[in-house]
């Protein structure tokens, strides 16, 4: 027996979003195509652009996984906020590169 519930919200009263199998399958195929693309592009020497392209494709793949597989697309704004905060932190973390990149700009005596 179910316990009596004050709010009587036992049944499915929530906003459930059931993503269709087709959407999941299409996402999966898109991810595989992007994987092949990552691999193919990395075999071509684009110089400095290799890493830019690789990161770009990875970002698209991540967006697909986060929005569709993880279902953030249909989640509340609070979830959107938390999911984005993670990537804001990541950007802050990568700002430490500002130190390493600018080290050559300052000339210090040898031995430092």
């Amino acid at each position: 027996m179910e316990e009596p519930n004050h709010n009587n919200h036992e049944a499915a009263g929530g906003h459930h979003h059931v993503t269709s199998i087709g959407t999941y399958a299409a996402t999966y195929v898109a991810l595989l195509v992007l994987l092949v693309l990552t691999f193919a592009v990395s075999r071509v020497d684009l110089g400095a652009f290799n890493i830019v392209v690789a990161l770009g494709i990875s970002a698209v793949k991540t967006a697909l996984v986060v929005l569709i597989f993880m279902g953030v697309r249909h989640n509340s704004r609070l979830t959107w906020f938390w999911a984005s905060i993670g990537f804001v932190w990541l950007i802050l973390l990568f700002l430490t590169l500002g130190d390493y990149v600018t080290r050559q700009w300052v000339h210090l005596p040898l031995g430092w």
Binding site: N7, G14, H16, I21, T27, L31, T62, V65, A83, F94
Partner: protein, 258 residues
């Protein structure tokens, strides 16, 4: 919110007494999981920063060292993880709709994929151990190392110039020979490689434990998994593990130079 997305056959959920509405309850679970994932992003993010920094400092050595990795095994593993992510999403969907048998099939397949991933990783790691690419006293680099390091490297590392004893290492035994700088650079790449992929593999193992527990609970119809939320949260974790690999594969296996 379109109507077609409001599936009529969603399995009922029970509202715990501390929540007002089922939406609020589900939100709390999901936001809680995301909070954990944010800490994980920072955790792995720091390692990606370390990789970026050292890759920009030693571009040639990292380029050479990363060529020793097997891109095909890496590609296989990426494929396996993407597939498992798809089946994990399908498992959550089936659980939400109360399709117990399908949930077990999809969860089981996800777990199999995870084991497959670790199997491929085992093949990779054992090859690297055999070739003495594991960082440590036995680290070796058999391929030709350019004997003349870049002038900039020598200047920057004047205190650890090739062959010269390190300053402040007097406590080492007399037999200790400092390794060459060029060797150290390659060792550094493999240190980062083993830490990052090892940590990722550890997450895969945790994922296997979580998903297997859920599989058993669903199989034995434990009341804890009447709600689809536990499967949903394990799914979120598994997708995160997949995302880490989505970045690891191109950055470690495919791109050597920056």
């Amino acid at each position: 919110m379109s109507l077609e997305l409001q599936h009529p056959a969603v399995a009922p959920q029970r509202l715990s007494h501390q929540f007002e509405q089922i939406d609020q309850q589900n939100d709390s679970y999901i936001v809680g999981m995301w909070t954990f994932l944010v800490t994980e992003i920072m955790f792995f993010g720091a390692l990606f920063v370390a990789l970026t920094v050292y890759r920009s400092v030693y571009p040639d050595a990292f380029e050479q060292a990363h060529n020793a990795l097997n891109v095909w095994l890496g590609l296989t593993n990426t494929f396996i993880l993407l597939t498992s992510s798809f089946t994990a999403a399908m498992a959550v969907r089936s659980k939400m709709l109360g399709q117990r048998a399908l949930t077990l099939v999809f969860l089981g397949f996800t777990i199999l994929c995870a084991f497959g991933f670790l199997g491929v990783k085992y093949v990779e790691y054992s090859a690297e151990f055999r070739e003495h690419h594991f960082p440590g006293p036995n680290f070796q680099w058999s391929q030709t190392v350019s004997s003349a390091p870049a002038q900039g490297d020598l200047a920057a590392n004047s205190q650890v110039a090739l062959g010269a004893p390190k300053v402040g290492v007097n406590e080492f035994p007399a037999s200790y020979q400092p390794q060459q700088l060029e060797l150290h650079k390659r060792e550094l790449f493999f240190s980062l490689y083993f830490v990052m992929t090892g940590l990722h593999a550890f997450h895969v193992i945790i994922g296997i434990c979580t998903l297997s527990t859920l599989w058993l609970l669903i199989y034995f119809k434990h009341p804890v998994v009447d709600d689809y939320m536990p499967v949903e949260l394990a799914g979120l974790y598994w997708h995160f593990v997949d995302i880490v690999w989505i970045f690891l594969y191109p950055l470690v296996y495919l791109i050597g130079k920056q």
